[in-house]
């Protein structure tokens, strides 16, 4: 964050609506928490509006997470946006920040999150419906407080999900509760989004789906790691989870002998 933007925090009233894209540094989140700011994760769908409304500013063939962020930013009455553009996010976010700075009348502040203090990732390895697990992990971005790891003991994994939180969480409903989470989502819970070594880890012992959003640079890493994994499936999806995407996951789990939720 640039020095001249430091005093912007002082302009925030309690309850101010602040949008975040990616994972801004913990220091930023801590300051927003201290000012009782209402943090909204713009990477997630926050409203029902047509994605086509972003077409004047972003190509249709673009990361669905960032298209969602722009859609949210256009429609929510925000006071400020923090958008992470460092190694913990992506170049696409940097370019989106340029667009948002131009079209919005509010401060749009770029950050580079290179936090390296590990908070742990208990949710990633605990027994819990995968969809609920992701909801909790993504909600965790809005707080700088440490976790109570003992609350979520690890379970023996039967499957793995590597990757980013998908734009459409419905695809997570297909996995068993004993699915361990890897990739950037694990970095997210650990509050070290730029930890590439942690991001590249997987468990070769369990069948694993390597997921990335279509048109995201991480598709290359997902495909690469899926090929390295003895029992991995590379998967990408755009805005919503199509029936063929759903069937791929279902068949992969079924043919790998993993009990799964969907029939």
């Amino acid at each position: 964050m640039e020095a001249k933007q430091e005093n912007l925090f002082d302009t925030l009233r309690p309850g101010a609506k602040v949008g975040i894209v990616g994972i801004p540094p913990r220091d930023v989140i801590g300051r927003l928490n201290a000012r009782d700011a209402h943090i909204l994760d713009l990477d997630e769908p926050q409203l029902k509006a047509d994605m086509e409304l972003t077409a004047p500013w972003l190509p249709r063939v673009y990361c669905a997470i960032l298209r969602t962020a722009v859609l949210n930013a256009l429609h929510l009455r925000l006071d400020m946006i923090f958008i992470d553009v460092g190694p913990g996010k992506c170049d696409c976010a940097f370019h989106v920040s340029t667009v948002l700075q131009d079209i919005l009348p509010i401060p749009v502040i770029r950050t580079r999150n290179e936090d390296d203090a590990a908070f742990g990732h208990p949710l990633c390895a605990t027994k819990m419906a995968l969809l609920e697990k992701f909801k909790r992990i993504t909600a965790g971005v809005q707080s700088a407080a440490p976790y109570d790891g003992a609350q979520f003991p690890p379970c023996r994994p039967t499957a793995g999900f590597w990757g980013v939180p998908p734009r459409d969480f419905s695809l997570l409903a297909l996995f068993p509760d004993t699915t361990h989470v890897y990739g950037w989502t694990r970095c997210m819970e650990n509050k070290t989004p730029a930890d590439w070594e942690l991001e590249a880890q997987f468990n070769a012992e369990v069948p694993t789906v390597f997921f990335a959003q279509s048109f995201c640079a991480k598709t290359a890493l997902a495909k690469f790691l899926a090929a390295k994994h003895p029992h991995g499936l590379f998967l990408d999806a755009d805005v919503t989870c199509s029936s063929s995407t759903r069937a791929k996951i279902q068949a992969f789990l079924e043919l790998s002998g993993v009990p799964h939720a969907a029939r």
């Binding site: 791929k248 068949a251 029939r263």
Partner: protein, 217 residues
């Protein structure tokens, strides 16, 4: 016990309890509305049965029944989509299902034969091809070629070869390809693959359903 693979253009049936167990075909547009089957796969399956096996699973299990080799690639080319499973050392290694960019390939091939009054049995595999990723979008190549003086038969043959090459790349460009689906009976399509092709016919998914039944007993 009636098993069925509900495809976009054709549906395949097998009465597993019937004599000799010979599978048969029905055009999808001719299906009785009140039809019910015991176990089904295919995109329309849930309309006609309470017991559904997804197409990739049925394809994989069909491959396990029909292919003795431990390493193989099995590609199913349907009217609306293409899908494949790849096995290494007898275990699933990769899979794919393309219902968007591979859309309507089989359907378009059948449509073109009828529209231009062609017979795929008499068309030679062309030397040239079109770069095609989608049956619908690929049609414009045919129209452009015909406009430039290329015969309709040659243009359609290039289109079919383009579709075969696209499907071949989609399933990982194997040296040997096991082919499933109605296009197994199309010599132009089969001959357009740049690899050895072993056609398994259009009842591979039905074989997979048979295996599902047997495994559940």
């Amino acid at each position: 016990m009636l098993l069925a693979d509900f495809g976009t253009s054709y549906c395949k049936f097998l009465d597993a309890a019937g004599p000799a167990g010979t599978p048969y075909l029905l055009a999808t547009k001719d299906l009785p509305r009140d039809l019910r089957v015991d176990l089904a796969t295919g995109h329309n399956a849930r309309r006609f049965s309470d017991h559904y096996v997804n197409e990739l699973t049925a394809l994989a299990r069909g491959g396990e029944e029909l292919i003795a080799a431990p390493d193989y690639v099995l590609l199913d080319c349907g009217s609306r989509d293409i899908k494949f499973v790849s096995y290494r050392q007898g275990k699933l290694a990769d899979m794919g299902w393309n219902s968007e960019c591979g859309a309507s390939m089989g359907f378009t091939i059948e449509l073109l034969e009828s529209y231009y009054h062609l017979d795929y049995n008499s068309l030679a595999v062309p030397a040239n091809t079109f770069s095609i990723t989608c049956g619908v979008l690929g049609m414009s190549h045919i129209f452009d070629a015909v406009t430039s003086g290329i015969s309709e038969a040659e243009a359609v043959a290039r289109f079919v070869k383009g579709i075969a090459l696209n499907a071949y790349r989609f399933c990982g460009s194997p040296e040997t390809l096991h082919l499933s689906g109605g296009l197994c009976a199309n010599p132009l399509f089969v001959g357009s693959f740049p690899c050895r092709v072993i056609p398994l016919g259009r009842f591979v998914l039905i074989k997979g359903l048979e295996k599902t039944i047997r495994d559940s007993l």
